[in-house]
């Protein structure tokens, strides 16, 4: 009985669950693993499923926990904020290094975000970030969670979050300026 139920769910919901997991993690491999883990967890806890909610809702709530766990594990180690990264962009007195000063992008002149090539560069620059910054940034933008929730889930102070964002953005915008706007 349990097995047939699970098998039906697998054939009905794998597609939707995978799409969601992929949307949240941008990785096929990780998304597949998360969906698989979701069904394994569902099989274990199937007696808890009372049918108050639809199986789809229930499976998605398991998956969402798996996604958060995945991000949490990735950032478990303390986030390092080397001050050296600041020196790359700013003088000691906090003024911009001439070479790193933001240049005019004219980013509003075209529909850049519809440009597949531009999105590819952006993706590349994101991947070039130190892993924990990359994770934090993705978690922030891809999970549509509030900043406070993210701090809580990752166990970091708000100050930490915006400082990570700051470091990450400095690198990201520098990378994009060099790879796209300077061309």
């Amino acid at each position: 009985m349990k097995n047939t139920m699970l098998e039906t769910w697998i054939s009905q919901y794998t597609d939707a669950l995978f799409r969601w997991a992929f949307h949240k993690t941008s990785s096929i491999e990780i998304a597949e693993d998360l969906v698989q883990d979701t069904f394994l967890a569902a099989a274990e806890k199937i007696n808890n499923f009372k049918g108050d909610s639809s199986p789809k809702t229930w499976l998605f709530s398991i998956l969402n926990h798996k996604i958060i766990d995945y991000y949490r594990k990735k950032v478990r180690q303390p986030l390092s904020l080397e001050s050296s990264s600041n020196q790359t962009f700013f003088h000691e007195d906090g003024s911009w290094q001439q070479a790193r000063k933001p240049k005019e992008w004219h980013e509003e002149d075209s529909n850049l975000l519809d440009d597949a090539e531009f999105r590819q560069i952006l993706e590349k620059c994101l991947d070039a970030l130190p892993e924990k910054w990359n994770t934090t940034v993705r978690m922030k933008y891809l999970t549509e969670k509030s900043s406070d929730d993210i701090c809580q889930e990752m166990g970091i102070a708000p100050t930490n979050l915006w400082q990570i964002m700051h470091r990450a953005k400095l690198q990201l915008r520098d990378c994009i300026e060099n790879k796209w706007f300077k061309k």
């Binding site: 941008s26 597949e32 993706e123």
Partner: protein, 87 residues
């Protein structure tokens, strides 16, 4: 003059940090005024804020455009197999 500005107002480092704080949390009244004054005088940090907002939109749009290419049938079989193994 530049030095005086830095004592009275924010450095670019601090100003760009506040831009991120503003985007993700809330600024205090004092911080709002400091950032506003700084941007009035600093073109680079004004650009930083504009570009930062643009990057946010960009990151959010990446996942919407990415085509999903995986063999769902294959995944279903894999999951069924691993379930049977666990029982």
């Amino acid at each position: 003059m530049k030095k005086l500005l830095h004592i009275l107002f924010l450095s670019c480092l601090k100003a760009t940090e506040l831009v991120e704080k503003k985007l993700h949390f809330k600024l205090s009244v004092q911080e709002k005024i400091q950032l506003h004054l700084h941007k009035m005088m600093c073109e680079a940090c004004t650009k930083y804020e504009k570009q930062s907002i643009f990057l946010e939109k960009g990151i959010a749009s990446i996942s919407q455009h990415e085509p999903v290419t995986t063999d769902i049938e294959n995944l279903k079989n894999k999951i069924t197999a691993s379930l049977n193994q666990n029982q």
